[in-house]
Symmetry: D2
Subunit: 387 residues, 4 copies
């Protein structure tokens, strides 16, 4: 491994996403041995020194920091990975860009379009490589969907629909704010399901089906007040518990999106479907190795939805793993994103989605929230979406 170029990583944040990213860095050398670059886990940063040291021990980081500014200031770090709550993405990313660091930022890029635009400006000015962890693109079945669509098999597109349904906040006892539940706090998260879940759906949708032009949305907050772990008091809930919107895509197709944390029985049901003139595709995160595909050109009497178990070596990423029939899991999407980022360093091509792409997704999220607030259609301002 001595001939590998190193990508020295500094990770900020040690929560759920800190774990998924760290696993990505650790696995890539085992499963993508032919990459020119290899990640080196230089440092991890979080406020609590004891906890961050335990995290470093567990995941193999060489050192710790308790102040992200100190981490950014280090000379031995090439890339900063931002896994903190959404309200600190902009500040850290802009500082990291100014320090000339590459940036891998957890999604959503920011809480608002304004923040996101500043972040895009910062990385463009600094000329640093950047990407955002919209990981679901890199589930092999979803990547295969992209490949099928790009091959033209679907023809003219009529419909795109996606939903992301959960049920973990139905209890009024779930608090807002604090370490495990900052996603319930509008100040930290920026929004509820829109930024957390629909942002994933929107990213995949625009990657697969192009720009979303305008939206008409409705949101709902079913539980109006929750205990806040930060203030220690019961506070109004500022996030959207559920969000539904329909939209027009640039290509003339209709879109339909829904997300909620109140769909009893669904743990993380991210499904997507696209209907074209000649063929259609469906996918479901709960059975993530499978892609469903309908091809109208099949002979009529034996025509039906095909259930494709995406575990063959000629399907995206799967030559790196096991043998046909043996599935992989959620975490592998992050491993693939690390591998693709490293590959982009070799080739010099941007690693999609980059900050600019994520800004476009942010525009849709913001238009959705504005539409819901004003009970009216909103243009998204997304010009095009090609990556």
């Amino acid at each position: 491994m001595s001939t590998k170029k190193e990508l020295r990583i500094g990770l900020v944040g040690t929560g759920f996403m800190g774990r998924t990213h760290s696993n990505g860095y650790n696995r890539v050398p085992n499963f993508f041995p032919d990459l020119e670059y290899t990640p080196v886990l230089k440092a991890v940063c979080s406020r609590n020194a004891t906890k961050v040291q335990a995290f470093a021990d567990q995941w193999g980081y060489e050192s710790i920091e308790t102040d992200w500014k100190a981490l950014i200031a280090r000379d031995d770090i090439d890339a900063v990975d931002i896994c903190t709550p959404n309200d600190s993405h902009a500040e850290i990313a802009i500082a990291a860009a100014k320090a000339g660091k590459m940036i891998l930022c957890e999604k959503p890029l920011a809480r608002t379009v304004a923040e996101a635009q500043q972040m895009v400006d910062a990385v463009n000015e600094a000329g640093v490589a950047n990407t955002v962890w919209y990981n679901y693109r890199r589930i092999p079945a979803v990547s295969l969907a992209k490949q099928i669509i790009d091959s033209g098999k679907l023809g003219k597109i009529f419909h795109y629909r996606a939903n992301f349904l959960q049920d973990w906040t139905i209890s009024a006892d779930v608090p807002q704010g604090g370490a495990g539940t900052w996603r319930m706090d509008v100040e930290a998260a920026g929004s509820g399901v829109t930024g957390d879940l629909l942002a994933h759906c929107i990213d995949t949708a625009m990657w697969l089906n192009g720009a979303i032009k305008d939206v008409s949305a409705v949101t709902e907050t079913f539980v109006k007040e929750r205990f806040h772990q930060g203030t220690g008091k019961v506070e109004p809930v500022g996030i959207d518990d559920a969000c539904i919107f329909h939209c027009h895509f640039e290509n003339g197709s209709l879109g339909l999106f829904e997300s909620t944390r109140y769909a009893r029985g669904h743990k993380a049901l991210y499904t997507l479907e696209i209907n074209g003139e000649n063929a259609s595709i469906r996918w479901d995160l709960h059975d993530l190795n499978r892609l469903e595909y309908f091809d109208h050109s099949d002979e009529g009497i034996v025509r039906g939805w095909r259930s494709i178990h995406v575990t063959d070596g000629d399907q995206p990423y799967m030559d790196k793993w096991w043998v046909p029939g043996l599935g992989i899991g959620y975490e592998h999407s992050f491993i693939h994103q690390v591998a693709d980022f490293l590959k982009s360093l070799e080739t010099g091509a941007p690693c999609s989605p980059n900050f600019q792409d994520a800004l476009e997704t942010q525009k849709v999220c913001e238009a959705v929230l504005e539409s819901a607030a004003s009970r009216s259609w909103k243009d998204t301002g997304v010009e095009e979406f090609t990556q």
Copy 2:
């Protein structure tokens, strides 16, 4: 059978729905032998005497008519069944009511709320029994969903979603107007998927989850011109090829509806789902004997969606059919509706849905179309929906 009271039927229309209703009348004596009333197929009416005679021979009608006014004028007919295209429902129904006939009208009740309101007024004034063939309620799995919801198992409702996806009009060669394709002609049909398919979804939804208060919709006509079999020319298409809307129910839950005839791969995919605080339910017309049910009160480690094969004798209607595991089909929903109508004659209770209920569904359809046209939210005006 000599002790049975007779319900003497006059059927108007010999198309697809003429067949489903006629089958309903023919099957009831075999499978519901304990009913007090029995249907007698007195007459069937359609313009073409040769064709209507063939229909009468095939289905066992005693006589034919070629003018519906003649049929209504007959003394030996108790009930008029209207299976004509939507543009004649109002005229026939109002005349039938004035003649003191009971009416079984195919859905949607009418093309517009105004027409539907006149029909309601007519049956109310005449005091005649009336029902509308929103048949999907009487699929045993859907009836079981109603029973579960009424039992209170779901708790507070958060979400209701339904779609009805088809793909039979993708080809631009499908004509509009004429016998087989009047559903493509806005003059005959009143609307496209909204009245044809979403009306079913809306009827079931309000039956299961109560009134829909307001809606925000989008429609699309993908193929702008089609050959018209009536005029013999290519004409603009006036119907909606696809329609999506979200809405608020009176009970505070959010609704999401979609219908299209451009969803490649779906023949008649009517699915519905309702998410409550404690339990959820799903159903799919393509596998119509099955109901999926999730009960959060199940022990956590063995909790999951239950796939209920609704073919046991203690499940709705199934004591009339075969043994557990042996499914029934689409047509049985009409047989059940006939049986329930006959039962309502015994009990004197209205047979749901009646014209009033169907008027409420019409209000939602009209609000949906107006919302789409005006790109704004519309109140439906539905006060309550209890049947």
Copy 3:
């Protein structure tokens, strides 16, 4: 309908199968109007005059008999339909044949090969049309499987497997003998699941995949004693509660069959699968409108099991029913069998399966039971199976 030739039916037996057959006769004129023959329900026979009159009223039989010999003696009956318990099939059928009646016999043809052989001899000698109600062949999805196999799409066959799993006799309180539970009484039934359920699987298997040459079986009787409704005492149970066997087909493929009434959770799970060099097929009675088909010649990255919803007009029998997506049920297999029998009267071709075919199935059943009893392989003696 006056120009139709009549097939005057005399039905013996008014149990579950009496209902399915009667429904078949009643429905055919509605859905197969172009047939030359039409069934006429002349008489139904059962011992209890009150009950048989009620049955006649419900199903439209013109008259009743309480002695099957009287029914056979009638001049106004062309065909005798035998729906009695298995122990009377041979006697009735042989008498009917001698009386020159056509025979439609419920499966299994008999309790033993010896009985079945006498029945075959009788119909051959009399030269009367005959068929056995192995109805599952005529589920459209199963008929489509036959069509696909006959087209040669599968190539060389390696494997055939089928099972028929139920759970209704797990309770030791289920009695044997008597009206509803004669299937539990070895004297009346001849065997347990082997003749009741596996006989269906074997018939379909030999129809689809040719003759079964030899078998190795195991049977089990889990509950050793049950109350007998005939004797009024607890008696030893003589039937097989479960039966498993593997076998060789004439074409070199391996077969695997299982049936039981002790598979908790399965109501009537009849599944079959056939694996060929180039393609495979699966079917499941619990979702009977669907056929699964895998075609290895599909492009690799989009290859998968196709879920075919067998409801299109160009699929077997489905031009007689509704529109794509709208399923039919269990009972339709009997309607199709009636239609095919009537058609065979027009064409003069035998209506498969006839008594000879059912005798071959009987040979396999008997070899299975002998194999289990002797714990050794048994040749079936089936020479060929072409219908």
Copy 4:
């Protein structure tokens, strides 16, 4: 991590299983940080020095060996992991035991009962910890099945069935012998699907349902000759391409097993089902995060198979991974096995399955092959199976 006790691993074999095991060792410190022991990858051994060095670089082994005897002779190795073809398991394991090494041996333990017995004797004499990589037990859904069964929810067991269907050897062009295809060579593998695939099914079955007493089997070799990569000539094929058997379990239930590499359309379809008096369980490797469970004690009208997405923190192993709804993959079963082996070093309890357990599985495999060869029932000689 300095306080961890080290388990110094020497791996023999760098094929497919070498990768799965190496990944297991690498992942455990990240996901099971609380274990007392940590694996240290001391050395990996294979004949080709270049290739083994590349493997060592990829997976982080500190050193290489090209002779397994040298590896066993090293003082700095605590445990030998055997991933070579089956024909060398016995020799290496016995030598390792004599050298006092712990042993983790890939399945099947050996080619024959005789070999396996010697291996058991060797580890017992040496008193070294030992385990065999029957990894499927440690798929969380399968572990949950064990937990449910042990809780007594199923009651008396009637049926157990399992199959393992593949399709990768249908082409006659697949060779036997050599690096990638030693599984096709009876000399190297000992048997075909019986030792490769059914051994897994048998291990899981006896773990879940106790000892298998006697078996009746059939095997088939569809392609009789294949090119041999070792001899360079077309040679007779000695392995079983397909194997089916039925059996009695010690607890009185019937078993049914099938495996083949000629089931077109199935990549690695390992399914299992167990039917008890009160409940039943099913599992399918192609959708490995899911367990299906039927509980007869559920209220009748809402009773059905539950589809359990086994991704909650209170389900086996899942507290180590992500959040509900986010699945894991095939490889995780090996990570869990490493973790459990390390845990067993802490507790002193044996790590199931150990060599003794795997010997019992070997006895069933051998009885199966003997039964097929002699066309007769064979006793397995398995006394009990408790781990």
